[in-house]
Subunit: 326 residues, 2 copies
Amino acid sequence: MNILILGAAGMVGRKLGERLARDGHLGGVAITRVVLQDVVMPAAPAAAPFPVECGAADFAAPGAAAALVAARPDVIFHLAAIVSGEAEADFDKGYRINLDGTRLLFDAIRAVGDGYRPRVVFTSSIAVFGAPFPEAIGDDFFTTPLTSYGTQKAIGELLLADYTRRGIFDGIGIRLPTICVRPGAPNKAASGFFSNICREPLAGKEAVLPVDEDVMHWHASPRAAIGFLLHAATIDGARVGPRRNLTMPGLACTVGEQIAALRRIGGDKVVRRIRREPDALIQRIVAGWPRKFDARRATELGFVAEASFDEILRVHVKDELGGVIA
Amino acid sequence: MNILILGAAGMVGRKLGERLARDGHLGGVAITRVVLQDVVMPAAPAAAPFPVECGAADFAAPGAAAALVAARPDVIFHLAAIVSGEAEADFDKGYRINLDGTRLLFDAIRAVGDGYRPRVVFTSSIAVFGAPFPEAIGDDFFTTPLTSYGTQKAIGELLLADYTRRGIFDGIGIRLPTICVRPGAPNKAASGFFSNICREPLAGKEAVLPVDEDVMHWHASPRAAIGFLLHAATIDGARVGPRRNLTMPGLACTVGEQIAALRRIGGDKVVRRIRREPDALIQRIVAGWPRKFDARRATELGFVAEASFDEILRVHVKDELGGVIA
């Protein structure tokens, strides 16, 4: 099996490559080749039992998509995107990469023809939804994004479904929850604090909490996210039917519940490293975000997320900290 | 007020031009100029009290949109589209006109800059929805189109909302019901019979009914459709909020109820002109269509459709037949 990962240098892409290298197969079929692509050079996972080819290029540049699909990968993970804040700050760049890039990729697959019909796994986002929301957002709730990023993802979903219906490829779109605990340095995304208040204290550092403890959000671990991608790559398309875009399961929990779990996992000394510093701007941004979903379809189709925030923290301590809490 | 109509040679565009010519104003403001554009040369309405300029061009050709918006129309009615059957038969043409054309228009408005921010009225379609449906489709039901046309309209809706949110223009998208009674010759659209079984018998001709009488569908008259467009052109955008795409009100009625109304309006002799000729293909296509909506938002925002099929027939007899039933 020949696999292409677009956006392979991002956190999810990197973890996906590492997991494939560890497994050596996908859905029971041996992996024969993996191509990792991103706008910055992705790192090849260590000790992969198959050849790995890394490339740095703008996949939305003329001809780039055709070159990427020329080797007819069996599975294409399309994770490449300009993220929310940047797509909002740079209108043209967001549309060029997130909309045009996605469409150029899809059209490049179409141009191969000759019976080529890969599985395409597209990472969408809960940003396709826009407030006001019901208490739990069901599978048939409408997509009224309030950002250009969310708009571009929603358009990608529509294209994915139509190109799949047309038989051009076999697409599955997955709307990822907020990934928590996100490894790496604290980032400036407005959602960063959900991870920061876990990752930093567990590593012996201070973290800032800018919102109240009753703020609820929708989480899944990086490990669960990779599980979603692998399941989306191998699921029987006929079981999914024509509605190809799925809200992934996750865990709805409040910041207070996050902190309580952190206390159970790391004790009071860890929790004391959280500093409360209310930030009106972040509070306002977060108030417009989805809090909770009823992801029934994806759950019935076998996608699995963590059932408690304790579990999310344990995944982090094991996968990122080698089991050691500071 | 300076008005541009794209797709002005179609049935709805032509009636819109005629109505503007009759009114001489829009929302209480005198119309100073109307530009009618279509891929075939539109006819200027008779006796318009303002200058009318007609042009035939492909609005999706390079530079065409810029030329159309250069005169900074205050209101742009974007009715231009490759219809459902053709967009399904010709993948590239449908995407080129319905998606790229729409985006080129929106980007041309953006390129004008300098505070230019017209009202854009975009006709979308109930084809943005895909079966299975709830009994009545509510305002927050998701868009999972099952045709490329529906996909392209749903993408147009998303772009309209995002460009509006960005302040590039002030857009309102309206999802029209099936227009009934559609004037003109019987057409080959799978939905044609809903109009054919009224229009032809009222004009003394035979019509074919290919489905059972219990088939329910969602209707509004051409006059109501023009009313939707005028209301969308003049409604206060602040009242609409960020969710800029609205399912228009309509009348849910069965073919049997259509025929009963036809009998009340035209008598038995008219109804006897309907010939039952079941067509399995049309029955299958129609079974996948939406039947009924709960168009609460649009109704609250002042959009008005007919309340009975009798009224729809009376509109047809008055507007198209000069009051005379054959």
